[in-house]
Each structure stands twice: as C-alpha cells, then as structure tokens.
C-alpha cells in the first residue's frame, strides 16, 4: 500500500486535479473552498502551470473556456453563490463541446446563505443551471479519498465526451480531514489528442469554437448532437453504490456527505434488527433511475435524506414511481442531520 496522508477534502480535490494533468486553474475566493484555491496557488506555479486568481467567478469560468478551447486540462472551483455566476460560462462550455472541470463546494443558500454544508444546489447542478438544453456530468463523492478519485475521473470524462463535468460536494467534505492515499499522477501521454482545439491553424484548416448559429436548422442539429452525446453518457457512465440492499425492506437514498452519514444509520438500524439498506448515486447526472427502479420493486420504502428541501427526492420519486413509499427527511440552512435524527426517521417508516 502506498503512502497515506491526512488531508482535507478541498486539498485532495486540488491535488488530484494536479495529478490528473490540470494545466490551468482559475478561481475567485469563497468559503468553504478556500483551501482548494490556496493549494493551487502554492503548487501550480511551482510546477510551471497556471494559477490565476480571477476578478470574479464569471471571469474565472471564461478563462477556463479559453484554456479548454486551447486544448489543455483546466478547472475552476467555487461555492454556491460563485457557481451561480459561473452558469453563463458553463452553458457556453456545454454548447461549445469543451472539456472542463468545475468544483462546487456547496454551502447554505439561497442568496448569500451561510458557509455551512448543504446540498441545496442539486437542481442547479443536475437540471441545467444555465440557459439552454444541456447537462453536465455531476459526480458526488461521499468520502475524502473518493473526492480524489472522482476528480481524476472528472478530467477523464470531460475529455472523453468534450463536456463540462462537475464535482458536487459540500463544506463538510471539503474541510474534513481523512487519511488518503493520493491517486497516482497520470501519464500526460494518456490524455486524448484534441485535433479540434485552437492551437494555431498550422498545416490544417482553422478550428472554430462556438455555441452559435443563427440558422435554426443548424442550431437544431447542434442540439441533437448534444442530446445524442447525453444518451451515450447515460448508457456508459452511470455510477452508484448499494449497501446492504439484498434483503432490505427500507432503503435510504442519499448522495455525498449525506450518504456517508446514512451508512452509519444503516449499521445501527441493522443492530436493531431493522432491514435497512442504502442506495447512493455517485453520478447524480446521469441519475441512476433504472437501478433504483429495479431496487424499489423489492422494498416497501425508499426514504430520501438530503441537506435540502428535497431536490434529489424528485429524481427518486421519478425512478420509484408507485412501486414503494417515498418519504423524505431533510434539513436546510447548513444543519447536518445526525445519525440519530435519521435513525428515528427510519424507525417511523420501517415495518
């Protein structure tokens, strides 16, 4: 086994990005993702790579747009209010088929909200967020080591599908320290060639990066192509995890930090003799509708637990339909439900 370090989630995401070959990082400070920005400020210049503290999140994502167009691996990170400002750029990245990684260390909202952990940006992340018919791949880690692994994966998927990919996490995971074995740096030669990038039209026709065409027929085709890409992603990239679901009567559906807490609940419930399992989407877009649908036909209850008013709950209900009861338990404003809170909710619904 390799060396293990005690690191914060934010630092692990930053370090994983470096090891994934991120050449250019642009961001604007905001709590609770400051450690990520600071890790990049310390390390990117030392490695001969680009770190720019941008004048705003709008500028940061626009710089990412330029660097992605020029063909390098690039990332920006922020927290909720900053991610709202990045929506313009994310829509342009999606429309122009550009690969980039965006990290959202979510905090309580709406408005300025607070700086405590929350999952209240699920809709914004998974349903579009900016203007136009687009999606991005959204990965939701539930432990610090997984935050590193999924960051590596995010760069890979971004390049494979030429699409923005979001790491959706929260202040709890971002600031929590855990022992981590950091992922091995990639071989730069493994990054796919980008013949479409604006690297200078030498010995080829000019490359043009755009999301624009005034001819509705052409724009319709650009949209159809995007949708076809999303169907391919749904086919190939669904990721989820089931814990103790084989004999479960009640399944908790939770993602990210909440799923981590729910795991403790599952263990305690089992000690009490309750048949409880956990369904954890890792890709929250694409959402694992089919696996959850399948699972829901064997259980009586799917209890969604979130740090929001019930956003992923909508996807759970879409998947489950009428096959099982679909109660919800959530907290807002940066309050993190404790295992005890969730367990008493489980007892209410478990047979």
């Amino acid at each position: 086994m390799g060396k293990r370090d005690l690191l914060r989630g934010n630092e692990v995401i930053a370090e994983a990005a470096i090891r994934a070959g991120c050449q250019c990082y642009f961001a604007y400070p905001i709590t609770p993702q400051a450690e990520l920005l600071e890790h990049m400020a310390r390390n990117m210049p030392r490695l001969g790579r680009t770190f720019v503290q941008a004048e705003s999140e709008i500028a940061a994502v626009s710089m990412v747009y330029g660097a992605a167009a020029a063909g390098v691996r690039t990332m920006t990170s922020s927290s909720s209010p900053g991610i709202s400002l990045k929506q313009e750029g994310i829509s342009y990245l999606a429309g122009s088929n550009l690969p980039a990684v965006i990290v959202n260390v979510v905090r309580g909202g709406p408005g300025l909200g607070d700086i405590a952990p929350s999952q209240c940006d699920y809709f914004q992340a998974t349903k579009g967020g900016g203007h136009g018919d687009y999606h991005m791949i959204v990965l939701a880690p539930s432990t610090v080591p997984e935050a590193g692994e999924l960051t590596m994966l995010a760069f890979e998927l971004a390049d494979r599908y030429r699409t923005p990919v979001m790491i959706l996490t929260d202040g709890l995971l971002g600031q929590m320290m855990e022992p981590v074995e950091l992922p091995e740096p990639i071989d730069p030669a493994s990054i796919p060639a980008k013949p479409w990038a604006t690297t200078g039209a030498s010995g080829r026709d000019p490359n043009i990066i755009l999301s624009f065409d005034l001819d509705p027929e052409v724009l319709r085709q650009m949209n159809l192509d995007l949708q076809a890409k999303y169907r391919r992603i749904e086919e190939a990239e669904l990721r989820y995890e089931e814990t103790m679901t084989e004999d479960a009567d009640l399944v908790i559906a939770a993602h990210g930090t909440m799923a981590r807490i729910a795991e403790t609940v599952v263990r305690r419930a089992r000690e009490e003799g309750l048949k409880v399992g956990l369904f954890r989407p890792i890709t929250v877009w694409p959402f694992p509708y089919e696996p959850l649908r399948e699972l829901s036909s064997h259980v009586s209850t799917v209890l969604t637990v979130e740090m929001s008013a019930g956003q992923m709950w909508e996807d759970v209900r879409l998947a489950v339909a009428e096959r099982a009861a679909t109660p919800f338990y959530g907290e807002m404003g940066g309050i993190v439900p404790t295992p005890r809170d969730i367990l008493s909710e489980v007892r209410k619904h478990a047979g």
């Binding site: 680009t50 941008a54 626009s62 710089m63 747009y65 330029g66 200078g200 043009i208």
Partner: protein, 252 residues
C-alpha cells in the same frame, strides 16, 4: 472579365489571412476596414498559423468567419478573460480580442480592466461606434451627450444616464498596460495611422511586451441614421472632440 496580362500589375488584393466569407456589415460601417487592416497585419507579421481570434457578441460576432486562423466565440463581454485563458494555456499563441463598446466597456467592464491590469500579453481591438449596433441601436456606454438612440429617444441625458465613458483613459491609469491608443478610420490618413497602431499592438505581443489596446472610433450609419459620408464627417468633427485621437500609453 478578369484578364491579367504582362502590362497589368496587381496592386491590390485581399490579405491572405482573410477568408472569402461574405461580410455581414452594413454599407459604410468601419468594421470592414478594420478587419482588412488586421488581416494585413497578420500577413505582414507572418503569424496566421499561431493566431487565435476571440470574437465577441455584437455586430462582429462573426469575426470567427473573417480570418484564416483559429477562433473562439466568447460570451458577451468576456473576450478579454477568454483571451487570458488561451494565452495562459499556450503563451506561444498570438491572441487578439475584437470587442464592441457595449461588449468591452459595459458588460465586460470587469474582465476588460483586469486583463489590462494583469498586463496580459494580448492584443485588444476595441471598436467604439457609440451604439449597440447588433441589437438595434440602443445607447452604449460611449454614446454622446444628447445622442438619440432607440433607448434614449430624447437624446442621452447625463442627469439620468451619465456621460460617455472614456474607457481607454481609465485603463491608461493602470501601471501594467504597454500600449494604449485611440485611432479612427474616417479618412486615408487616419486609416494609415490605425494600420500603424494595429501593427504595433500585434508586434508588442509577438515581442512579449504585454498588454496592448487599440480603440478605434467607428461609424454606424444604419443606427446613427446618417449616410456613410455624413457619418465620417460626424466622427471627424464631433466624436473626436469627446474621444481625442492619439496614444495614451506607450511603454514599449
């Protein structure tokens, strides 16, 4: 009929760096002259194979069609930030942003000032036509006092909407920029001056001297509701009073 014989010499042709794409600009608009000047400059410096054009949102949104070089269409106002991203990703590329006054000096205010303040080694061409051409002739940050536009039908009233913004002068207050100049295209002499300025602005980048900004006073006969000739005269007599021509910064 096109015949070239021994006694006919070709003295004028399209710069190699321009494509044959049909212009979308209105008759009498200066965007076309400026496009040609940029194409000619790219030819003269032999940089087409490493140049990236950042097209804005505005009448020049199609700039990605005009040049025989790589191009990126940017969100409204963000061209200078996008140019930053490209240049930082590959400093060997020659990156120029081409932006209207709404794009550069209104919605892109923050991106424009901060790219200049970082001294990004890029070239920015800022086309000041005192209106929003693309969207139907609304007031621009540069519209003159009393200028009638579709959103100031009674004329720009400074008590309500302030005065025309001299953005280049604002940027000239910063320590980082290398070259800031304001030029015009209303007569041959000014066209030649603009050629020289644009060439300097690109040369600075090639020589890694830092940020260059060329503001170019342009006409918009369509939205000014003036003939092209009257528009040229208007720039010469009126607009240059508010936006004086000449170099503001030259730290090469």
């Amino acid at each position: 009929m096109q015949v070239e014989t021994a006694d006919m010499v070709k003295v004028f042709s399209r710069p190699q760096s321009l494509t044959a794409a049909k212009s979308t600009y209105c008759p009498g608009c200066h965007h076309g002259i400026l496009t040609r000047i940029i194409g000619k400059t790219i030819d003269e410096l032999g940089i087409a194979e490493r140049t990236v054009c950042i097209a804005p949102v505005g009448c020049s949104v199609f700039a990605y069609n005009w040049y025989r070089c790589d191009a990126i269409q940017a969100a409204h106002g963000r061209a200078s930030a996008v140019a930053t991203g490209v240049k930082r990703a590959d400093p060997n590329l020659i990156v120029f942003a081409y932006q209207g006054d709404g794009d550069f000096a209104s919605i892109g205010t923050a991106e424009s000032i901060h790219a200049a303040n970082r001294g990004e080694n890029i070239t920015v061409i800022f086309v000041n036509n005192q209106v929003y051409g693309m969207t139907g002739g609304e007031m621009a940050p540069t519209s003159l006092v009393h200028q009638k536009t579709t959103t100031t039908p009674a004329g720009r009233d400074p008590a309500q909407v302030g005065y025309p913004i001299r953005f280049s002068e604002m940027i000239a207050q910063l320590d980082a920029p290398t070259y800031i100049t304001r030029q015009a295209l209303f007569d041959t002499r000014r066209i030649l001056d603009t050629e020289e300025a644009i060439k300097k602005a690109f040369e600075n980048q090639v020589n890694e001297k830092g940020y260059s900004l060329v503001e170019v006073l342009s006409t918009c006969p369509t939205n000014w509701r003036m003939s092209p000739i009257a528009s040229n005269k208007h720039v010469a007599d009126v607009v240059t009073e508010v936006f004086p021509l000449g170099d503001l910064v030259d730290r090469r």
